[in-house]
Amino acid sequence: MQKLETLMLEKAKNLLSSGEVSRVLGWKKGELGYDVEPSVFTSAQSLDNFVYNVFCGANLSKYLVQETKKEGKILVFLKPCDSYSFNQLIKEHRINKDKVYTVGVECQGKIDNYKLKENGIEVVESFDEEVDFVTVNGKKFTKGEIVLGKCSVCEKKLLDYDEVISINEKRSPDKDRFEMVKKLESMTADERYAFWKDQLSNCIRCNACRNVCPACTCTKCVFDNDNSGIASKANSDSFEEKMFHIIRAFHVAGRCTDCGECSRVCPQHIPLHLLNRKFIGDINRLYGTYQAGEDTTSKGPLTDYTKQDVDPSDVFGG
């Protein structure tokens, strides 16, 4: 991983000094080692803080919507899952591709900071692939135990880039990504209702899931409309949370690349990706397998139709 970072830094410095790009979009070191955040670097000096390690879970593609409106070209590092979002944004004409220099970087799975903090982290000893960190009660963890949910089921490949920096082969997923969705589907309606009521009532309506989502790029969002009835947190009833999450997932249905950012950033640890995956699963089942962001030209399943589509009443088999 250290070697990968060096290669990336070299690339960034070269492109900056040659003037091919004027800015670099990457990840910046935080104060504590594990609080890595996305950042735009404008000079070779500022790149001293550049970092690429197991904590770089953030998806950078959404930043390009604003960044490509500015002067000059920007270099961006994209992990496999980021590149699907990137492609999807290109398809929706949200990013000006001429102003981006894309470099694909290898990813072996990133760490879930929440899982880490839950254990009372004290110190990070290594940032390498096999991360070592010590918790307050002295326990050591392996990466597999604290990897992001999205990474343990990741099937994404490195797509088309201007350039690719990769050393090792990508690990194959340990689990089926629809496992939990299938489990929920096999429950009774009452159990499912109880499960979601329990989960969604934790929602504090911070809108982090919306703000981070690379598919949510409307300049005017329906959730910012005070008259929508879902613009703020309801104190008395859980309805608003349900409505918010149904609508949020529906608005990205057919465009969601399953990058898992919504669940990664949720401060209440709500498994929001399960809503998106339900839509993805249904789309695959009813309208043929579709992976959003795999290409930049095909029609999305909700902007397309066939005359033989199943009727809503037949979706459940009668």
């Binding site: 309606a189 008395s236 529906f250 139709y305 066939t306 005359k307």
Partner: protein, 146 residues
């Protein structure tokens, strides 16, 4: 039907497209075919005008069932509107079911302008189903209830 009305009044919202189903409802009326008075019809230009939010909002405001009626696939006044509505509603209803909301509370029916009898039959069936299910508890907002 009279018994249903006496006991409890469910509230059913029917989104009917202007060109087929709304005219179908009209025909049901002029043919003197009855359908429950609990059904409140909202006229929309096309079934694909129905935003998922409309459906959730109806439930929030105390609807016990929501039915969307449009032209038969292939007969849309705007050529393709109901094809898109069909996909959207399939996904939305499946999602509501996933969240544990009774799947019988939502329905899509294709009713043409000549199908007054079908309109009446569908509404009667749907109303009795909703009556069986009882009040909508899972998707209501207490603050919006009178």
């Amino acid at each position: 039907m009279q018994e249903i009305n006496k006991e409890k009044k469910p509230l059913i919202v029917a989104f009917c497209c202007n060109w087929c189903s709304y005219a179908g409802a009209d025909l049901a009326g002029s043919s003197r075919l009855s359908y429950p008075a609990d059904v409140k019809i909202i006229r929309v230009p096309c079934s694909c005008r129905v935003n998922p939010m409309f459906i959730l909002k109806a439930f929030q405001r105390g609807a016990d069932g929501v039915i969307i009626c449009g032209c038969h696939p292939g007969d849309c006044h705007y050529t393709t509107g109901n094809y898109y509505a069909r996909r959207r509603m399939s996904l939305l209803f499946s999602m509501l079911d996933y969240l544990g909301i009774e799947r019988e509370r939502t329905r899509v029916e294709w009713v043409s302008a000549a199908e007054g009898a079908k309109f009446s039959k569908v509404m009667n069936e749907f109303a009795s189903k909703i009556n069986e299910l009882g009040e909508n508890k899972r998707l209501e907002d207490l603050r919006c209830k009178n």
